[in-house]
Amino acid sequence: MSYTDILICIFGLFCSSYISRILPLAVLGRRPLPTFLSLWLKYVPTAVFGALIFVSVFGDANSGFRFSWTNVEFLAAIPVLIVAAKTRNLAYSIIVGLAAYWLLNQYMC
């Protein structure tokens, strides 16, 4: 991507992210959302993070799936998941993830 392309991309990113941010504050006011829409919004975060995690850990059809016991991304994700579920702390999750990934790479491959 060229320098100009990246600037255009940043502008596009601003637009697609600002819509979700401004809609409730400036347009919707204090009117409640339709029930189904608010229920859908409740499940969007968990679905999006689940999808992102699976794709980053197991790869995709294009680059080849990584379903194996020697998949370092998968093995390192296990302690992260445990720590994240127990502490709900972003910093701890990242530290454990980096440590596990680094150690596994040192001793497995």
Binding site: S16, S17, S20, P24, A26, L41, A47, G50, A51, N62
Partner: protein, 231 residues
């Protein structure tokens, strides 16, 4: 200025700033690897301002993805900010339109979490001005950390695999915030499975977008009166 920046505001904002340093530096290092300079990184941090969104956008730029799929994917990932706006509305809906337009840009997981907790404590005397001060300080520290990451990335060698693993660990951490019911966890796993399956036909992260939309619809259908969560 004391109305916006005072001891109470600093006390509330410092954990956010502290967390932003490693995350922002990692984001800047990734940015440097995919061809961002300090100016572009500062622009991205000002106008996008989203930790996971910026990591995803940078990873996609690095993979040579076209602009439109990047913009759509990050837009979907940031849909959750709409929830935060709906909840914050009760505290700031009486402020001017300009205030609300600026506040909107400052909605991220961290500022939402801290501001909504402070607003809820009646005795704390938290108000829209203090919230604006907190938002500004958090946003500035994020921007500075990402720019520092770009400068650091160009000065020293850092393993790319490690930086991208920081992203995966962050996703898992962010996902864990939603482990509030079996259905919420289940829909996340379903979204993951669908994203893998759909990658047979869709690429450019569109598999992630479609999997998210479909899994969340299934979630809404099976929710069965659990209701919208009150944060």
């Amino acid at each position: 200025m004391g109305e916006y920046f005072n001891k109470q505001v600093f006390k509330a904002v410092w954990p956010i700033c502290f967390g932003y340093i490693p995350l922002g530096v990692a984001c800047g290092i990734l940015g440097e690897k995919v061809g961002m300079d300090a100016f572009l990184m500062a622009m991205m941090s000002i106008f996008l301002f989203a930790g996971s969104g910026q990591f995803i956008a940078l990873a996609m730029i690095g993979a040579g993805t076209a602009i439109i799929p990047i913009v759509i994917t990050v837009g979907i990932v940031n849909l959750r900010h709409m929830l935060y706006g709906l909840i914050l509305n009760q505290y700031i809906s009486k402020e001017s339109l300009l205030y609300r337009m600026i506040y909107a840009q400052e909605i991220v997981d961290e500022t939402f979490a801290v501001n909504s907790i402070e607003f809820q404590k009646r005795e704390s005397g938290w108000n829209p001005k203090k919230a604006a001060g907190l938002n500004f300080l958090a946003h500035m520290s994020w921007m500075l950390a990402t720019v520092a990451g770009v400068l650091l990335g160009s000065a020293v060698y850092i393993d790319t695999g490690l930086v991208s693993y920081a992203l995966i660990a962050m996703f898992i951490g962010l996902w864990s915030f939603h482990f509030k019911s079996a259905k919420l966890v289940g829909i996340g796993v379903l979204g993951g499975g669908l994203a893998l399956l759909l990658s047979l036909w869709l690429d450019n992260m569109l598999n992630v977008v479609v999997a998210t939309v479909v899994a969340a619809i299934i979630g809404a259908v099976i929710d069965n009166g659990e209701g919208v969560e009150k944060k």
